[in-house]
């Protein structure tokens, strides 16, 4: 059976995903990478290491922690623990994305390979856009976007490294602030399940609260505790509405 006539070929959707490099989230991420590049250049991390890091770690918060650990003279085990604790959030993010993009025929090894391209930006982008992509082509679409975004940022880091050492502070400040503001606007506008709004609001409050209570595990506690609370609240609201209907 050939259904490429009606839904487009995998190659077409891969190209559509690649074009996502010109979207607002991709541009904001690239600006954030310019900011990260300035940080590493000032710290004296060689450009080749920054490019390598961009490709293999990918998630920006994890890289900031890795670089801080290196600069602080941490040993391998300490750096590993710091980075891995800060990256636990990748697991539920990937787990929420996988049921949206796979089909029954998608091999697990392909999902394992493509999961490398998940970080906050690609996750928000994919969760927002895949409903408009035919299910059989979602893997191609995500691969096109994810691979292009990583390669483009590796190239970007290599090129801008020598120019960014001294930014005017006002530019550096605004570049930094783009990331949280973009995540907020984008998660809110792309939410397709009511539980997302509740979880976003609860997480914003729970993050600082747990930072104050238990700064070592704040993000983890805010995510699991706050997320569970948001889910329970939304579910009981939903069940009451159904009972009334």
């Amino acid at each position: 059976m050939d259904d490429s006539q009606t839904i487009g070929s995998g190659r077409d959707w891969f190209l559509t995903g690649m074009k996502g490099i010109f979207s607002l989230p991709a541009i904001i991420l690239m600006l954030s990478f310019v900011g990260f590049c300035a940080f590493t250049a000032q710290a004296g991390i060689p450009m080749e290491q920054v490019v390598f890091m961009t490709g293999v770690v990918w998630a920006l918060p994890a890289k900031v922690i890795l670089v801080s650990s290196i600069l602080g003279g941490a040993n391998l085990a300490t750096a590993f623990i710091a980075v891995t604790l800060s990256s636990i959030r990748l697991m539920p993010m990937v787990a929420a994305l996988v049921p949206e993009i796979r089909t029954e025929k998608t091999p697990t090894w392909l999902l394992l390979v493509l999961s490398h391209f998940v970080a906050i930006t690609a996750w928000v982008f994919a969760m927002e856009r895949v409903p408009a992509v035919p299910r059989e082509r979602r893997i191609a679409f995500f691969a096109g976007f994810g691979i292009t975004l990583v390669l483009a940022n590796m190239l970007l880091v290599a090129v801008v490294y020598q120019f960014v050492a001294e930014f005017p502070p006002i530019v550096a400040g605004c570049l930094f602030f783009l990331t949280p503001v973009y995540f907020l606007a984008s998660i809110w506008s792309s939410a397709r399940h009511p539980v997302i709004y509740v979880a976003l609001a609860v997480g914003l409050v729970a993050g600082p609260l747990f930072y104050w209570l238990a700064p070592e595990f704040d993000i983890l506690l805010a995510g699991v505790g706050g997320g569970t609370f948001a889910w329970l609240a939304e579910r009981s609201w939903r069940q009451r509405k159904e009972a009334r209907a």
Partner: protein, 114 residues
Amino acid sequence: MTVLEGWWAYVFIAIAGWLATDLWRWLGVLAGNRLREDSEVLNWVRAVATALVAAVIAKLILYPTGVLEQSPLWLRLGSVAAGAIAFFIGRQKPAIGIATAIAVLAIGLWAFGF
């Protein structure tokens, strides 16, 4: 400040960076592969993932690193609030909210002589 050199730098980044992050992505694939799209468990996973990202967002705003460390908290919160108001007035277009928040922050930073 320490800077790693030679091949050891790449081994260090591969173990403490690559393995430390991809480990969770692989576990996410194995967990997500068992979830049905309409299941209540997936709803919970969605809530946890969103709350985790929200907690990261709140920390970036409240406890920024670099230049913004020296900026007043009320300026950062005010920028986000202004962006949120513009976002909801502007039919929830992300670009409108983001541009407003950044413009307010830039004016504030300029007024404080950054």
